[in-house]
C-alpha cells in the first residue's frame, strides 16, 4: 500500500501544475519541464483511484501556504503596530518640544500664578493625606510648611483648621488654641469658622479657661444655630457647664 502511495507522486505534482497555471509557468521558466524535483520522473502511472493522493498533496501544499500567509499576516500586523507606535511617540516628542519652546518664549506671569496655585494645592493635599493616614506629626509639619510657603492660598483657612485638629488630637492644646484662634479671628465667614469656634471653645475649656470657653461655645450656638456644629456645642455645654 505504501508503494502505491509513493507511485502517485508524479501524478500529484502534475495535478498541482494544472491546478495553478501561474505556478506551472514559473516552474517551467525556472527549471524546464521535468527538473523541478528528481522524484517526478519515471514510474508508470496507475489509473483512477490516484487522484485522491494527488489532491492530498495539493491540500498539504495549500495548508503550508495558509500557515505561511498567517505567519506573514502576523508579521505585517506587528510591524504596523510598531510603526504606529513610533509615529505617535515622535509626534508626542515634537509636541512636547513645541510646548516647551512656546513656554520659554512666553513665560507669562498668569501661568506662573496658576502654577503656584497648583503647587499650593499639592502641598496642601500632601499634608491632608498624611493626616488621613494618622501620621499626625508629619502632617503637622507639612501643614506648617504649606502655610509658610503659600500664605495667600485659598486653602490657608483649611490649613489652620486641620493644624488645630491635629494639635488637639495630639493633646497640644495651646498650639491647637493658636491655630483655631487664627481661623476665628481672621476668617469669620469661612465654612470652617463654626467648627473652629466650637473647637476653640472646647480647647479653652480643657485648658481651664472655663469662662472664655463657654463664651465661644455659646457664640457657636448663636451664630450658627442651624448647623450640626451648634448641636455639638449645645451638647458640650450641657455636659460640661450644666451646673
Amino acid at each position: 500500500m505504501k508503494n502505491a502511495v509513493f507511485n502517485l507522486l508524479p501524478l500529484a505534482l502534475s495535478g498541482l501544475m494544472v491546478a495553478s497555471s501561474a505556478q506551472a509557468d514559473t516552474w517551467s521558466s525556472i527549471g524546464g519541464q521535468s527538473s523541478a524535483k528528481p522524484t517526478h520522473s519515471a514510474s508508470p502511472v496507475k489509473s483512477s483511484a490516484m487522484s485522491g493522493a494527488a489532491a492530498q498533496l495539493l491540500l498539504q501544499d495549500i495548508e503550508v501556504l495558509k500557515q505561511e500567509v498567517q505567519r506573514l499576516q502576523g508579521v505585517v500586523e506587528q510591524q504596523g503596530y510598531e510603526l504606529n507606535k513610533l509615529k505617535t511617540e515622535q509626534k508626542e516628542r515634537y509636541l512636547d518640544l513645541d510646548r516647551r519652546l512656546s513656554q520659554a518664549v512666553k513665560s507669562a506671569p498668569s501661568e506662573q500664578a496658576s502654577n503656584s496655585k497648583v503647587m499650593a494645592k499639592q502641598s496642601y493635599t500632601k499634608a491632608f493625606e498624611l493626616m488621613k493616614k494618622q501620621k499626625l506629626a508629619e502632617a503637622a509639619d507639612a501643614f506648617n510648611e504649606f502655610l509658610q510657603s503659600y500664605p495667600k492660598s485659598a486653602l490657608v483657612v483649611n490649613g489652620y483648621y486641620w493644624l488645630g485638629q491635629i494639635y488637639y488630637n495630639q493633646g497640644k492644646l495651646d498650639d491647637a488654641r493658636k491655630a483655631f484662634t487664627i481661623v476665628v479671628n481672621q476668617f469669620p465667614n469661612h465654612q470652617k469658622t463654626a467648627d473652629s469656634m466650637y473647637k476653640l471653645g472646647v480647647v479653652l475649656h480643657r485648658l481651664g479657661d472655663n469662662a472664655q470657653g463657654k463664651q465661644y461655645l455659646k457664640l457657636v450656638v448663636k451664630q450658627f444655630s442651624d448647623s450640626a456644629t451648634a448641636r455639638f456645642a449645645k451638647k458640650y455645654l450641657k455636659e460640661n457647664y450644666s451646673n
Binding site: M1, V5, A49, G52, A53, A55, Q56, L59, E63
Partner: protein
C-alpha cells in the same frame, strides 16, 4: 459496538468471496477475492500462495488500522500528523468500499485555552480529518463533523500525558 460492526463489515468486504464487488470493486479487491477463492478451493501450495499470505496480511493490517478510530493532534494544532495517515487511508478506503457507511467525526481539545476558541479548534480538527477522507475518495455525504471543544475529555487531569490524549478526533461509524 460500532467497532464490532465495523470489524465484521470490513471482514466481509475484504476477506469473503465476492461480497466486496457490490460496491465499486477495484482491481486490487478483485485479485484478492480471486486469490482467496483459489486458496480455499484448491489449497495447493505454489507461487500464488505467497501472494495469498501477503494479501491476507494486508487485509489484517487494514483491519487493525480500521480499529484505530482516534487520531491525535499537537497543542493548538489541527493538521494531520504523518503517523496517522495510514489509519486515515484505511478509513477512507473503507468508506469508498462501503458507500452506505456513515461516519461522524468528533473533534476535541485539551482544557488549556478558552472554551469558545477550543470549540472552534475542535471543529478544525474534525474538519481536517474530514477533508483528508474526502480527498482520499470518500463521499462528502458520508461524513459529518461535530466539535465538542474541551467539554468531553477522554481523560481527566492536568498534565501533558492527559492533554495529549484529549487533543483528538474520534471517528464514529453509525
Amino acid at each position: 459496538m460500532e467497532l464490532n460492526k465495523l470489524f465484521a463489515a470490513s471482514l466481509l468486504s475484504l476477506a469473503m468471496v465476492g461480497c466486496a464487488s457490490s460496491g465499486g470493486t477495484t482491481d486490487e479487491a478483485a485479485t484478492t477475492d480471486a486469490a482467496v477463492e483459489e486458496s480455499q478451493t484448491q489449497g495447493v501450495p505454489g507461487s500464488r500462495d505467497l501472494d495469498v499470505v501477503t494479501e491476507e496480511q494486508a487485509a489484517m493490517a487494514a483491519n487493525s488500522l480500521l480499529e484505530q478510530t482516534t487520531v491525535y493532534f499537537g497543542y493548538d494544532r489541527s493538521e494531520i500528523r504523518p503517523e496517522f495517515k495510514d489509519v486515515l487511508n484505511a478509513h477512507a478506503e473503507y468508506l469508498v468500499a462501503n458507500p452506505q457507511a456513515r461516519a461522524v467525526l468528533e473533534g476535541h481539545c485539551d482544557e488549556r485555552g478558552t472554551v469558545e476558541y477550543n470549540l472552534a479548534l475542535g471543529e478544525r480538527r474534525a474538519n481536517t480529518v474530514k477533508r483528508y477522507l474526502i480527498v482520499q475518495g470518500a463521499n462528502p455525504s458520508q461524513i459529518e463533523s461535530v466539535s465538542f471543544g474541551e467539554e468531553r475529555p477522554a481523560m481527566i487531569g492536568s498534565d501533558e500525558s492527559v492533554w495529549s490524549k484529549n487533543r483528538r478526533t474520534e471517528i464514529k461509524y453509525q
